[in-house]
Structure formats: C-alpha cells, structure tokens
Amino acid sequence: MSRDLKALGWLIHAQLLRIAREGLVVRALIWPGLLTALTLVISSTVVLAFYADNELALEPGHPELVAQLEERGLAVIEVPDPRALLDREEVPRAAYREGEQWVLATTRSGRLSLATEGVLREEIGANWKLKTPKPGARQVELGATLRVLVGMLGVLYALYGVVFGAAALSRDRGNGSLDADLSLPISRGIHALARILASSLALGAGIAVTLGLLGALIGVEQPVDWWSAVTLAGATCTAMGLAWMAASPGESLTGPLSRGMTLSLGAITLGFGAPQIGRHLPLASLGAMVKGVPPSFLAWVLCGLCIAGACWVFDRKLK
C-alpha cells in the first residue's frame, strides 16, 4: 500500500512534467485565459475608439431636458434642425418634436439611445416608462454575461480533460511507453489514478490563472465555486476519456474522443437547463454554475466514484 502511494506521488509528478514539457499543451492551458483577457481589453479599446459616440442633437429650448440627458452621459448639441444633423451623419441620434410628439431618430441603438428615450418618456409622462442602468454601477446583466464567458472557458478546460485522458493513453499505447509504465510492480489502477490526478491538477492550475486574470480585469463572482466546478468537470472528463479509451482496444482515438466530448457537452447542457439537479452531478455542475448555482458535496463524491470507475476499467479492460 505504501509502495503504491509512493508510486502514485512519483507518477503524478512524472505526468505533470510530461504535460509541462509539451509546449502545445502548456499553451493550451494558459492561452485561453490570457487571450480572453487580452481580447477583452482590446475590444473595450476598439469600442471606446469607434463606438463611444455620445452626441445627441436636440432642438433648443429644453434646458431641464439637457441637464438630465447630460447627467446620463450624453453630449447634447442644441440645433434648430436636429434631424438634418443626423441625416448628414454628423451625430448618431437626434431628438425633436413633431407636433405634440417627441421623435427619437438614431443610427446607433444601445445604452445611450435607450437612456435618451427614458428621459424623453419621463418628460412627457409617456404611456410607459423606461429605466436604464446608470453608468458606473455594476450591472446585473454583466454578471450573467460574465458567467457565460467563464462557463465557455470552463467547458474548454473540461474538454481538455477528455483529450488528456483519451489522447494521452492512445499516444502512450501507440509509442510503447504504456507497456514500460505498466511493467512497474504496482497496481494498474494506480497508473490510471495518477493520470487523472495529474490532469486535474494541470487543469485546476490553468483555470485558476484564467479566473485570476478575468477576476482582476472585470471581477468574477464566486471564484472558488468556479474553480471547483471546472476542476470537477476536468477530472470527470479525464476519467471518462481514459476509461473509454481503455475499454476500446480495437478503436482509434477518434471514436472515444468524439463520444467523450459529445457526452461531456450533453451533461454540461443538462446542468445548464436544470441547475438544481445539475449541481449534484460532476459534469453537469459546470452547466449549473453558469446559472450561478455552485456544485454540491454530492458532486465531489460522484466525481470520486467516476474516477474509481475509470481506474477499475483501466485495471480490468486495458489490453
């Protein structure tokens, strides 16, 4: 037993070194977060440079309206014919009266146009009112969008788990290094466990850096829950990929990899659709997390059972 445990530690170390030595794999773990963070900054800069046009042409004679609009972040230009300015594409929006009715003409929909509409509606006591979030406040919608963004990155890391499980075994079987591994005087299950734990550690480190980057840049709520959900999903995917590959001796990598990826995505989708059930299942809990529901303790237990099952399959079915 102690020999197995000692071997487990060394095998995990060896597997981690192999992962670190593969430039493509390391880049796969680090780049998604770095690239997403960089893209976020670049997109914001581009949006800032090209689309942050806050001008509004308004007919003169409405000083209170101007004050309210400026408070909402708009730069008001008072001109007798606001529509002409819009038609000449000198401003992105124009507000003017047509008889008793206000008209808001815009070439750019978005927060500022909605804010203008909200102020105009308030002014005339319209049939329905419109409230838009004030700039500066952290918006509820941002939280939901961010969860989708982090969730997509999480899915990518979970799918890497399938690759680490299935493709690494396929490679080692193909190049003969698996035979060398299995010649060690330890249980076969220990090899499987080492592969799964090493993969989970690598995936856990990758998602931790990603969460750190996104957390620093835009703020991720429930970072520990996110880390748990993605690491759980990664460990389960690795176990699944490994078990499928071990149980399919006559098959090439393509079949187990495609099946593993499809099943993983299916389970994650299930968790997204039914988060209160999904939070108790290891893969589905990642989908549940996108809805803000963290994984339960049962999910960890079931993940452990999946890993145990994969070790058993590896021990019994691998030829």
Partner: protein, 505 residues
C-alpha cells in the same frame, strides 16, 4: 499530383481512423448530432427583430395577452401599475406591444441596419467542424507518434499527395455527412432552398486544411488535439466575425475571408454569385496555402518565416510584460471608458497575485520543458547579508522615491501605482510571492539565458517609466545574483522594498 495516389492516401486514412470493429460509432454520433439540428422543423427567428414579445417581472394585465413571461428576456417590468420597464434592448415586438398602452408616446426611428441572423445550416457546419477534432488530431500527429508517418513518407507518393490525400479524406467525409443533412433538411421542409449547401463543403475544406496545418508539427495526438480544440473554434469565431464586418464594406470582400466567408455562405448570408465566387477563390487559395505549409513541414524544411533569435527574445519580453501588466493595469480600461467606479471596485490584490503567479508559471514550465532545475543554489549567509544591505543602500541612493514593486512615478503611472501600492498586498504576501516571482523570472531564469536580456527585460517590464532607476537596480540585482546566487538578489530586492517603505513612512 496523381489522383489514384490521392484517393489511396484518403482511403487509407479513413480506414485507419474510422476502421476496425467500432467503425460505425463515429458516423452514428455524427448522425445523432447533425440530423436533429438540420432536419427537425423548428420555429427559429431570422432576425433579432423577429424575436417574440417577452418580458421578465410582473407584466401588466392589459399586456398579458401580448407579452409572454420569460426569465431570459432583455426587458423586465419593475412596476406593473404605472408600467415601467428596465431594459438593455427592446425587441420590436415588445415595443409594439408596449405602445398599445393608451397615452402619449415617443416615436422611435431606428435608422441603423438590423443584422440578419444566419440560417441553422451554419450550426450544422459548425457541429460538423467540431466532430473533426479527433480525426484531425490523429491524422498527422497520431501517425507521427506511432511511427507510421515515416513509412508513408518513404512510400512512392509525394509529400503534397500525402497532405492533399489526408485533406480529401476528412473534407470528403464531412461534406458527405453535411450533404445528407442538407438533403434531409430540404426534404423535411425545415430549411429553405438557397446557395447555403455550397458553403458546407467550403467550411469543411477550410477547417480540415486549418486543422492539418495546426497539427503539422505536433509530436502526438495530445499536442495536436489541444491545439486544434483551442485554435479552430477561435479561428472560426474571429474569421467569421471579420467576414461579417467586412461584408458591411463590400459583400465580396467579406465572402473572400478564408473560413469566415465559407461560414457566411453556409449560414445563407452570402448569396449572390459574386460572393459565392469570392468565397470559392478566397477559401481555395487559403486551403492551397495551408496544405503547402503542411507539405513543407512533412519535407522537414523550415517554415517560410523563420523568427530570428532577437525577435524571439523580444517576444519573450513582450509575453512577460503582458503577464504582469494585463492583470494589474488592465482594469483601468473601464476608468478610461468613463466607468471609474467599476475600475475602483476591482480588487487589485487579485491582479497582483495573478501577475506574480504567471511569472512563476513561466519559470516553472520552462524549467520542466528544458529538463533543468530553476538554477537555485543553496543560500549563503554572506550573500543574503550583503544583498540586504545593498538593497537598503539602493533605497537610500534613489531617495526612497522608488515605487513599490519596481514601477516608477509619473502621471501615466498614477493608476498603476494605486494597484501596485504598498498596502495592496500584505507584506508577507509581497515577500513570499511577488518579489520571489520577479526575482525568479528576471535573475533566476532570464539571467541564465542572457544577462543582457534579463537586464533589458527588467527595465522594460518592471520599470518602463523610470529606466534609469531600472538600469541601476537591474545592474545591482543582476550583479549580486551572478556573484552570490539568486538568494542574494532576492535579499537585495527585499531590502530595497523594506527600507524604501520605512524611509517613505
């Protein structure tokens, strides 16, 4: 190129990867995924304006017949009695329903162009593309790992026949699968006739060529699969986005974007003969170029563009700067955009800790990759004492105006100072994480590659706004590291930070 050889290579690849007892599993999986998406009739809107009227919250009674409740709607009622909504976007149907309420209203004239939504055939193309990850990872890299690629290269076929044969195998099978789905979709009436079926083989061809090119130098399936999984969706997203954007300038230009143009055709967004021709030419040229790259790699020739050593070093400095500054100064973008509250609400500790962890990651991974240790020698008492004293002297010498963690003062650095300030992380975390990470990267790792590179990187990455101080401190820390090892440099850095803090206080 000889067609018979091409077909032979393609047939061999298909048999090798999809053959054996489980040959039916991949086609069954493809059918199980693609058929429901492509064939089952669904009521999918063709534009954002065609979305039904939906809202969250308590919908007023008079509108309940017109607006459906939905937790995902972008519109939410905050008060039902005097109808007030909160919205980030108001779809046309919801606005029309709201305007049925009696009373004065504001007339909206939206003169912006409403984006057209792609057809569901785009989803079929993207799903088929996602199923290619496994075969593409296995086709070249798998053969390389098993050693069978050498046998193939020694056979009586040219390198280009090998590359094109492999491309043919997977483009052919993806085209066949999507064509069957297209026929099923047209027969069931779930999709309308149009030029989109022409886009499906174009997407398959471009994606397979890109997948083969990405895996051209991968040593095995793991490297190839992770690379394909990472890059292929991103490339589809970016090139699709670029094609969409360029379409606004010139439809033919958008359609000519490799892969992106093919996605436009597959999504029924590029329908004119000129666009179809542009998509065919653009994608054809890109496929040819990528497969030429694969052929070159199979030949063992270096890539067309060989990055010289100096550029590599500059890229290394750039990567280090990115790892450090992106999480630390990145949040400032919201302040520049006018949302200073959001910038201020983001915890600077996370950025600082992430930057330090990324530095440690660079060093650890490279040490593992090069089969070396991090080069740390055992600490010596003399080195540590001299280092600490030298660091303290450096703080005095530079009149303790040194900013914390290496950044200089200056107007531009004001926001960064705030996020790098002395109080951001507790001193223990600075001593245990941030300063060791900086020292490991610059004096431990980069200095072993080249002392000059380490000095340059230190100045450019950590003290870009005060290069003189950067140069003095870099020379001192680098010299100490060379004389008494990394521990001495770390002690100097600690002394510098601690004494500057004490004198500043």
């Amino acid at each position: 190129m000889r067609p018979a050889r091409l077909l032979a290579v393609a047939w061999r690849d298909l048999r090798l990867i999809s053959g054996g007892r489980g040959w039916w599993k991949l086609p069954a999986l493809a059918a199980g995924l693609l058929l429901p998406v492509g064939v089952i009739p669904l009521d999918i809107p063709t534009s954002l304006e065609a979305l039904p009227a939906r809202a969250q919250g308590q919908i007023p009674e008079s509108l309940q017949a017109l607006i459906e409740p939905s937790a995902q709607a972008p519109v939410g009622f905050t008060r039902a009695e005097e109808p007030t909504i909160r919205a980030t976007r108001i779809p046309l149907a919801t606005r029309e329903a709201l305007d049925t309420l009696p009373g004065p209203s504001v007339r909206i004239e939206d003169l912006g162009s409403e984006p057209e939504l792609p057809g569901r055939s785009l989803l079929v193309a993207l799903l088929a593309l996602s199923l290619m990850t496994g075969p593409l990872a296995e086709s070249l890299a798998g053969e390389r790992a098993k050693g069978t690629l050498t046998t193939l290269l020694a056979a009586g076929i040219s390198r280009s026949e090998l590359a094109w044969g492999k491309w043919l195998a997977w483009t052919g099978s993806a085209t066949l699968a999507t064509a069957l789905v297209a026929i099923g979709g047209l027969a069931s009436g779930s999709q309308e006739w149009g030029p989109w079926p022409l886009g499906l083989p174009l997407v398959a061809g471009a994606a397979v060529a890109l997948g083969l090119w990405l895996g051209r130098s991968a040593a095995d399936e793991v490297g190839s699969a992770t690379r394909t999984m990472r890059v292929l969706p991103m490339a589809a997203l970016l090139l699709g986005g670029a094609a969409w954007f360029l379409r606004g300038i010139s439809p033919a230009l958008g359609a000519a974007v490799p892969l992106g143009g093919a996605l436009l055709v597959a999504g029924n967004l590029a329908v004119s003969p000129v666009e179809l021709l542009a998509a065919l030419v653009g994608n054809g040229l890109a496929i040819t170029a990528m497969l030429a790259g694969v052929t070159r790699a199979l030949d063992g020739r270096p890539p067309w563009v060989d990055v010289p050593g100096l550029l590599r070093d500059l890229a290394l400095i750039g990567a280090a700067a990115l790892c450090w500054w992106l999480p630390i100064i990145g949040p400032g973008i919201w302040g520049i955009a006018g949302n200073a509250e959001l910038s201020a609400s983001l915890d600077p500790r996370v950025g600082l800790a992430t930057g330090a962890l990324l530095f440690l990651g660079i060093v650890g991974i490279d040490a593992a990759r090069l089969h070396t240790s991090t080069g740390l020698k055992p600490p010596s008492l003399l080195g540590i004492s001299v280092g600490f004293a030298a660091g303290g002297a450096l703080a005095v010498l530079t009149q303790w105006e040194l900013p914390e963690l290496g950044l200089a003062s200056g107007e531009l650095a004001e926001m960064a100072q705030l996020r790098l300030g002395r109080g951001v992380l507790p001193p223990v975390a600075v001593f245990a994480l941030v300063l060791p990470a900086q020292e490991l990267l610059f004096r431990g790792w980069l200095q072993r590659r080249s002392p000059l590179l380490a000095l340059l990187a230190w100045v450019l990455v950590c003290t870009p706004l005060d290069p003189v101080t950067g140069l003095i401190s870099g020379l001192l820390l680098g010299g100490l590291s060379r004389w008494k090892g990394w521990w001495a440099a770390l002690a100097a850095h600690l002394g510098w930070w601690a004494v500057a803090g004490l004198l500043g206080a």
